[in-house]
Symmetry: C2
Subunit: 278 residues, 2 copies
């Protein structure tokens, strides 16, 4: 039998992976979850048919999400991850010894439960004593926190369905308020090639709120176009010049994608993308 | 009618574009040529069913190919492009006023003839008086030149079929001999994510021949994984520190991808790719 999974990266662009075997299919309160094994990318996790995670490249997203802000803040103690139920960002954050407490707010408990079973390497640190799991709506959760987190990482799904509110200015402002005076917010902001309008909107919203805003890019293989963006907002530190190079060198030794050169250069945008952050 | 073009980026990974209409299909002496219009990437050109060029992203490849070497050499006068029958690299090279003569060696005259019709913007400079077209085998052509070119750009197809010889040490050595004493060779060297073995082999061969070798990367959308590599070999100039920043600034003003920051940082590799160039 030949079995293929397809995702429409654009209405006229389809990306298809040959499936070795299915591991799990289920419907939670919020969305459909599928885990399957592919020939090219190892295990794959999809939500409502959209790839969230593959074994082959998950490290890129999680390393960038965790280390870009954590290596600019001189000694982050508390971080909040919104929507990263697979646990990959938590795993990377825990590499920084200064963290005393990490909160993960994932709306869908099923994501955590199933990732622990099917992506044990990614979810490996979700039971760490420093980690607290909250199965709640990210917006409501962050609304109740003030001046509390050093770092907030927003790993939302695409801005359709349950995650649409995570791309709004109001939400970023709540994050600002939930951050300490020298806090940093990082949010995934879609593909440089296909989602210029979303990046522009996120960038504009961040700039209304944070004195220092930067757009970072990274190469991965499972998301649209393979060139993914992250928007960072910082209250106090300079995202380019305040990188702690000694710590970065120690962290890079544990990484498959991240290194200090990547950190310094991930903010350099191709000309066509510069207009998104004007 | 719904019409889709598919390319297998890997045996278990298929990339499919919805086709608006077909422009041309033909068989040359060497290969099958297809030109068609897609919904997402505009016009697309394929050879034997493999995407060579799309309207949406062709600038990335050609800007990198032309400007990385031309902005390190202080005043390149003569360049050779092997296999770039679409004319995109020639168009970019001509932005450098120092060039007196540009040779294009394309094995398949049909590629040039049809690109002039279906990609007139890319092929726009092929009739420039500085440009000489040769419809010959690249290996034989370069073999007959000694100490002649300042820059050689090898824009081969994948290392299967007619282009396989363009990935061999013998060929790079002929290029070395065809270059002047301070010449620079650049060759496309496939995907960072999927072709580590090819990159390693090319890098090893370059290092046997050139004192200075670097691997550059760029994001595009039409080739496998979207993260493409170029291997550069230089006889005399330092590929990182000898960039002519003033000229680079003038060139970047004409580009959609290339800029000086991109030039400086395109040699920074993710950790997993560093082992390819050890």
């Amino acid at each position: 039998m030949e079995l293929w999974f397809s995702e429409y990266h654009l209405p006229g662009l389809r990306y298809s992976l040959k499936v070795k075997n299915f591991l799990y299919t289920g419907q939670s309160k919020y969305q459909r979850l599928d885990f399957f094994e592919t020939y090219e990318f190892g295990k794959v996790f999809t939500l409502d048919g959209i790839v969230m995670l593959t074994e082959k490249d998950e490290f890129v997203y999680h390393e960038m999400m965790a280390h870009l802000p954590s290596l600019v803040h001189p000694a982050p103690k508390r971080a909040l991850v919104i929507g990263g139920g697979d646990g990959g960002t938590i795993r990377e954050l825990l590499k920084h010894e200064s963290y005393e407490s990490l909160d993960l707010c994932e709306i869908d408990k099923e994501v955590v439960d199933k990732c622990k079973i099917y992506f044990p390497e990614t979810a490996s640190k979700l039971d760490d004593p420093k980690v607290n799991l909250y199965f709640e709506d990210g917006i409501k959760f962050v609304q109740n926190k003030k001046n509390y987190y050093d770092i907030i990482c927003v790993g939302s799904t695409d801005p359709i369905g349950p995650a649409v509110g995570l791309f709004k200015e109001d939400f970023y402002r709540m994050c600002y308020d939930a951050l300490t005076d020298d806090g940093i917010l990082i949010a995934q902001s879609e593909s440089i090639w296909y989602h210029g309008d979303i990046i522009k909107e996120v960038n504009k919203a961040f700039k209304k709120i944070f004195p220092e805003v930067k757009l970072a890019v990274a190469s991965l293989i499972c998301y649209q176009s393979g060139f993914w963006s992250f928007t960072l907002g910082s209250k106090k530190y300079n995202l380019l010049t305040d990188i702690d190079e000694n710590r970065a060198k120690r962290i890079e030794a544990t990484c498959k994608y991240y290194n200090l050169d990547i950190h310094k250069s991930c903010f350099y945008l191709p000309n066509f993308a510069k207009e998104f952050v004007k």
